[in-house]
Every structure is written in structure tokens, then in C-alpha cells.
């Protein structure tokens, strides 16, 4: 009994030390690099911190009211939502479609998976630059192709009506490989017995997809949706590269033409780090955080309620 107690306490002590040794650094890092910056940003969002001054006067909700009265922020908010509404459904649908196709590609599965995944692992800066030149009205490959077919050439990124679509097309191309790989992984978890049963019951391919594949991909779909929408809401690099000084060679003030590609994170960066309105930038970050949180919770709730069986 005595020996047993001693043995147990030694075990617990070892386990406790192990837990402490492993969790403490992680917890500290999490607090320092994750929780603290968010908390600091939340605090700064109630100040008019301008970077240089050591005092950061508390101004209450002024940055938040300013945001919702700022026509440029409202335009950025609209653009961000439109961007997500384009990139998320198209990116998810294409990713699923590719996964279904590649899943049946037999020995070529590996090859296609690699091909479609290359844009994901490629530097977004490099590829966005290449796409920017592909959109160039005079020399760009897109207009060359249109001309080949006798179709009218476009101004692409220079056209306020097309610019956001052009950036969205790039983002879809860049991200679809990731969705595809996740869906492919999800497809491998579906037991073939469900497909066999469906066939025995006389289901056609379309019915199998809707009644078997899609419901059984529910968890995967949830993950892909949540990550795609978060990525869309936080988009920065493609917009920054493709829209900077769109009719000039400069490297500043992205979001053109006429702010039609300006998204929240780009505007936040512009205000915080170019115009040194750090308090206002922090408030925009907080607004985005709430939007992401609400969007994510709604998705989780909707997907769980709809397909949990």
C-alpha cells in the first residue's frame, strides 16, 4: 500500500513535470504572440495612437464610429464581402470538382494533384506579379488570346468594373489546389460500402454525389468553407501586388482603380502603417475579427444543423 502510493505519486510527479515542461513554453508563447497582440490591438482601438507619441489618449468608440462613417472603409468592407462571395463558392466548388475528377484519374492522380497544388506552394508575390503582367492591356496574354478569337480586348485591372473580379480570379487559381487536396483526403475516408449500397438501390451518379458523397464530406466541407472564407476576409497580398498604383509604376496606395479593389486588410495597412493612424487601424482589425468570428460561428451552426445525421 505504502509502496503503491509512493509509486503513484512518483508517476504523477513525472507526468506533471512533463506536462509543465511542454505546456508552459507553448502557453507562454501563445499568450505572448497571440493573446497579447489581440488584447493590445483591442486596447489601442479605443485610442488615437499615432505611433510616435508615447501617450495614447483614450477616445472611446470614436475609431469605430469613424469607421462606419468613413466612405472608404465602407467601400473596403463591401469589396471584401464581394470578394468572399466570389472566391468562396467558386473556389470550393472547383476544389470539389477537381478532387472528384482526380480521385478517378487512376495512376495519374499523383500527377494532377501535384499540378493543381503547385500554385498553393508558390510564392503569392511572384505569381501575382506574373498575373499582373498577364492582365496588361497591350502585351498581356489574356488580351492576346481574346484577339486570337476576334473578341474585344479588355482593360482588366484598369477597369473599375473588372478589377476586383480579376484579383478574385487569381485568388481562386491560387487557392483551389488547397481545397482540392483537402477534399481528396475527405474522399478517401468514405467507405466504399456506402457507394455499393447506393448502386444496389439503383442510384445514378448524380444521386450518389448528392445523397452519399456530399453528406459524408460534411466535416471536410466545414473545414474548407471556414478556411476559405477566413482567407477571403483576410486577403492582402494579391490585392497589394495587383492593384498598387495601377496606372503607374509606383509602389504605394494599393486598392485602385477608384478603390474598387480596396479590401479591409489593405485599407487597415494603409491607415496604420502608411498614415500612422494605428488606433484607427486597430479598430478596423477588431471589426474584421468580429466579422470573421460571426461568419465562422454561423457556418459551423448552419453546417451542423443541416447535415448532422
Amino acid at each position: 500500500m505504502e509502496a503503491g502510493t509512493k509509486h503513484k505519486s512518483i508517476q504523477w510527479g513525472g507526468r506533471g513535470a512533463f506536462l509543465l515542461a511542454t505546456l508552459l513554453p507553448l502557453g507562454a508563447a501563445f499568450l505572448l504572440f497571440w493573446i497579447y497582440p489581440i488584447a493590445a490591438a483591442a486596447v489601442f482601438s479605443f485610442t488615437n495612437w499615432h505611433g510616435f507619441v508615447s501617450q495614447t489618449p483614450f477616445i472611446g468608440l470614436a475609431n469605430y464610429t469613424r469607421a462606419f462613417q468613413d466612405p472608404i472603409f465602407l467601400q473596403a468592407l463591401r469589396n471584401t464581402i464581394v470578394f468572399v462571395l466570389i472566391t468562396a463558392p467558386v473556389g470550393i466548388a472547383l476544389g470539389l470538382l477537381l478532387a472528384l475528377a482526380i480521385n478517378r484519374a487512376g495512376p495519374l492522380t499523383q500527377l494532377f494533384r501535384t499540378i493543381y497544388f503547385v500554385p498553393v506552394i508558390t510564392s503569392v508575390i511572384a505569381t501575382a506579379f506574373v498575373w499582373r503582367y498577364m492582365y496588361q492591356p497591350q502585351f498581356g496574354v489574356f488580351n492576346q488570346v481574346l484577339s486570337l478569337f476576334g473578341l474585344p480586348t479588355q482593360r482588366w485591372l484598369l477597369d473599375p468594373g473588372q478589377a476586383l473580379l480579376c484579383v478574385a480570379a487569381f485568388a481562386i487559381w491560387q487557392g483551389v489546389g488547397f481545397n482540392m487536396v483537402i477534399f481528396l483526403a475527405g474522399l478517401t475516408t468514405i467507405d466504399s460500402v456506402y457507394y455499393d449500397a447506393a448502386r444496389v438501390d439503383g442510384a445514378n451518379g448524380w444521386q450518389v454525389f448528392w445523397k452519399v458523397t456530399l453528406p459524408l464530406l460534411r466535416q471536410t466541407m466545414m473545414f474548407v468553407m471556414v478556411t476559405t472564407i477566413i482567407n477571403g476576409l483576410q486577403v492582402f497580398a494579391p490585392v497589394y501586388i495587383m492593384s498598387s498604383a495601377i496606372i503607374s509604376g509606383g509602389e504605394s496606395a494599393p486598392g485602385g482603380p477608384m478603390n474598387r479593389t480596396l479590401v479591409i486588410v489593405v485599407y487597415q495597412w494603409l491607415m496604420a502603417f502608411k498614415e500612422l493612424e494605428l488606433g484607427y487601424g486597430a479598430a478596423m482589425g477588431m471589426i474584421l475579427l468580429v466579422i470573421i468570428l460571426v461568419a465562422t460561428l454561423l457556418q459551423l451552426r448552419w453546417l451542423r444543423a443541416r447535415w448532422d445525421y
Binding site: F52, V130, P137, I247, G249, E251, A253, P257, N259, F273
Partner: protein
């Protein structure tokens, strides 16, 4: 200088497309795209032998970091000064120069200065200087630093009795012309009109269109954000207007001179059809022969040399035409290349060493080297007759107009996003110039009173002779 243009000519574009896939794959291996420092060797700069015996005694020992934005010709001058003059005179004080991409420089210098960190001295562009001045982190220059009466900038850099900048030179708009194209058309450089209307008619001779009415050759390229901004300011001042009211609390962008200037820029593209946004921006289309003229600021010269080395001897410049054909009331805007500044939150001996470095490189023969290297107009009146400078191609056209130029001082950091939208509106969508100007003016007028501003445009006095 302003940011380097990002457009490609046809040859570069095809090369980029060919290499695009390979570049993308390579980049995926962990590389990130950065602005590449141009590889074209800058023109040789003659650096006189060191004058180590005249060096001031400095107590600081160690390394001084120096930041600059990428502009190879200037970095060559700085490095030559460090190697040939500074290091022999002060072997215990190493100067470590770092050239940052233009796109990063502003954000980085403001960020590190706000944390009272970073380099003790840096080249500071006039766009950013005012933010640093407001923060009180820049050391003013002493009165005996140089002969301030000789400096063009004196009128525009003094505030609260202190001189806070020492520009290494000035840039202003001018007309770049393609010698071969003009020669072929039987036009001599001296024939290029000094009145804008006449210049437009001349440039229109070179316009070519395809069967669909699409421009295939341009009259005079501009198509660059910075040129729109500078030309807009030029035209406001040329009409005798101002950008801001006297106490700097309100913009005058919605007044007649500003609206007329904006309308002119719209007409440049849509009425006169001298230019097209479909062409690669700015000097790129000039360098690849798409237009005989380029309406550009002086900082473009170095980039044309850099990007189009074969074109180097095939272009030159003349002064920009004005609306009236005369230099009065003003010949428009000019902008300082600004210069080195010392930050005041470092130790006194370090600041003293930095100040000595700045003094060394901005006075005497080094100043000539700096001006020649930057291919800009000098800040010093006594250098106006210096043949080492006047013989530099493209520089004289700027110097000839300098006495009639206006420097607005602060360029409000909040303005750029508003101006971009304003120019996009009138150029890309043929929007109403008055409405676009009013919208920008309304937005900036909310911002202007929030801070002390350093507008200096009204210090301008046209020469009496």
C-alpha cells in the same frame, strides 16, 4: 527619386512570361519576391583624393548605419565617399550603408523612428520628413553647417527658425524627347514649343491609330500616377493658384485653377489623345519608342539609363512647356531629392559623427558628385555655373526653370489615396473633373486641421530680373 516603374516593355514582357513558370516554381522553394537592385553599372563618378588631414576630431568609435532607398547611382556616390574620404579620415568609424526598396522605405523608417530605433542617419524623402519633424525626432542643422544663403532650399526648409533639411538636389518636370524620332520628322529640339497648346499640336503629329481607332503610337506619354500628381500641381501654380490656404488648414483643390488643371489632364488622354493607359507606364513606353515625347520628372533619367542602356544617347530634355508660354507667375512645381538626416535619439557623440558625415557628403566636391550622381539640379546657386553639372545631359533643362519653381513643402500623407481616386476618376472613367476635385477636397479638408502642417508654397517669390 520616385518609385521605379513596374511596367515592362515588349521584350521584357515576353522574357517575363517565358520565365514566369520557372520563377514561380523556384519561388515555391522558399524564395520571396523582392525588388531587385538594378544591375546596370552606374556612370563613373570622379572622386577626388581624400582630405583626411582636414578631418574634425570625433569622439565616437564604432559603426554608423545609414539607410537609403534603392537608387544605384546615388549609392555609388555614397560608397565612393565612404571608401575614399570618410574611412581614411575616420578609420574607427565604419559607415554601414543599406539600400532598401522604395516601397518598404517609408513604412520602415517611420516605424523604426517611432520606436526610437533604426539607423542614426538616413536619406529622408520629403514625403516622410514632415511626419518625422512633427514627431521631433530629426536634428535641425546648425546655421554654420553650410552657406544657407547659397541654398535654393532655404526658402522652403526653414521652420521655427530652424533649418531641418539639406536637399541633395531637385527634380522637376520636363519634356524628354527621342532624338531619332524628332530628327526623322524634321523637328529640331529648339523648335519644341514653350507654350502647351503648341506643344500638344506638335505631339499630335506622331499619333497613330489602327483600323479600330485604337492608339498604336502616342504623341506624348505620361501615364504615371506621379506625373499626374506633379503635372496637376504644375498647372495650379502656373495659373497663379495655390494648393492650400495661407494657414494650411484648408485645401484649394476645388477652386478654379485646380479644377482646370484636372480637366487638362483628362483632356490629355481623351480630347487630345496624346496618351493611353493601355500602354506601359511612364518612361517605359518612351524607352521602347512608343512616343517621341515623355512628360516626366528628372528622376526618370537614371531609370531610363538603367532599363534602356541602348537608348542612353538617343534622348535629351527641354524645359516643360507652360500654359502661357512664359515662366510667370510660375513654372510649376519642383521637389527636393531631400537628403540625409540625423536622428536625435542617439548619443551626442554618435549624432556628432553623423552630422560630420552629412556635412562631408553635401558640401564641396562631394556635393558636385552627389548632384552628378543623382542626375538632378543642385541646391546650391554657386554650382549653377559649374560645368561638371551643366554638362550632364538632361540636367540643364531643369536648372533653367528652377528660379520659377514652387515647392509646396509638406505633401499630406493622407492626400495620396484621395488623389489616386481623383485621377482614376477623370482618366479611367472620364468622370467630371469638378466633382472629382470637390470630393478629394472635402475629404482632405477634414484631415488638414488635425495636425500642424508645413506648407511652404507661399514662400515662393518669382525672380524680379
Amino acid at each position: 527619386m520616385k518609385p521605379r516603374q513596374r511596367s515592362l516593355n515588349r521584350r521584357e514582357f515576353l522574357k517575363a512570361m517565358g520565365l514566369g513558370g520557372a520563377a514561380a516554381v523556384l519561388a515555391s522553394c522558399g524564395g520571396t519576391a523582392t525588388t531587385q537592385a538594378p544591375t546596370q553599372p552606374p556612370p563613373p563618378i570622379a572622386v577626388p583624393p581624400t582630405a583626411a588631414q582636414s578631418a574634425k576630431t570625433l569622439t565616437y568609435k564604432g559603426t554608423l548605419d545609414l539607410w537609403d532607398w534603392e537608387f544605384p547611382v546615388r549609392q555609388k556616390v555614397y560608397q565612393d565617399f565612404i571608401d575614399n574620404k570618410w574611412t581614411p579620415a575616420y578609420p574607427d568609424i565604419k559607415v554601414n550603408m543599406q539600400a532598401l526598396p522604395w516601397g518598404d522605405m517609408e513604412t520602415k523608417i517611420l516605424t523604426v523612428a517611432s520606436a526610437k530605433n533604426g539607423p542614426p542617419m538616413s536619406n529622408v524623402f520629403f514625403f516622410w520628413r514632415y511626419e518625422l519633424e512633427r514627431a521631433g525626432v530629426l536634428n535641425p542643422f546648425p546655421e554654420d553647417f553650410t552657406d544657407w544663403n547659397d541654398r535654393i532650399s532655404s526658402t522652403f526648409v526653414r521652420d521655427d527658425g530652424k533649418i531641418r533639411a539639406i536637399p541633395s538636389g531637385w527634380f522637376m518636370d520636363m519634356i524628354y524627347y527621342n532624338k531619332e524620332m524628332l530628327d526623322k520628322a524634321g523637328i529640331k529640339p529648339a523648335d519644341i514649343p514653350t507654350k502647351m497648346d503648341d506643344f500638344i499640336k506638335m505631339a499630335q503629329q506622331f499619333i497613330q491609330k489602327d483600323n479600330d481607332g485604337k492608339l498604336t503610337a502616342l504623341g506624348c506619354i505620361m501615364n504615371d500616377y506621379w506625373q499626374h500628381e506633379y503635372l496637376w500641381c504644375d498647372l495650379i501654380y502656373e495659373q497663379g493658384g495655390w494648393m492650400y490656404n495661407e494657414d494650411g488648414t484648408k485645401s484649394l483643390w476645388d477652386e478654379e485653377p485646380a479644377i482646370n488643371a484636372l480637366q487638362f489632364i483628362q483632356d490629355w488622354y481623351h480630347k487630345y489623345q496624346l496618351d493611353s493607359v493601355d500602354f506601359p507606364a511612364g518612361y517605359t513606353s518612351f524607352g521602347n519608342g512608343s512616343a517621341p515625347f515623355f512628360f516626366g520628372s528628372g528622376w526618370n533619367t537614371a531609370w531610363i539609363y538603367n532599363d534602356f542602356p541602348d537608348f542612353k544617347d538617343k534622348f535629351d530634355t527641354v524645359p516643360a512647356p507652360t500654359l502661357s508660354g512664359k515662366p510667370t507667375p510660375s513654372w510649376g512645381l519642383f521637389c527636393p531629392e531631400e537628403g540625409l538626416q540625423v536622428f536625435n535619439y542617439f548619443s551626442a557623440d554618435m549624432q556628432e559623427a553623423c552630422a560630420e558625415f552629412v556635412k562631408g557628403i553635401t558640401t564641396g566636391d562631394s556635393e558636385v558628385d552627389l548632384v552628378v550622381g543623382n542626375i538632378c539640379a543642385p541646391d546650391s546657386r554657386k554650382l549653377f555655373e559649374d560645368t561638371r553639372i551643366t554638362s550632364v545631359p538632361t540636367v540643364k533643362a531643369m536648372m533653367d526653370t528652377m528660379p520659377w519653381r514652387v515647392h509646396p513643402g509638406e505633401r499630406p500623407i493622407e492626400a495620396e489615396k484621395l488623389w489616386r481616386t481623383m485621377f482614376d476618376s477623370v482618366i479611367l472613367t472620364k468622370g467630371d473633373a469638378k466633382a472629382a476635385a470637390q470630393e478629394a477636397a472635402k475629404a482632405i479638408n477634414i484631415e488638414l486641421p488635425k495636425k500642424k502642417r508645413y506648407f511652404t508654397e507661399r514662400n515662393y517669390q518669382p525672380p524680379t530680373a
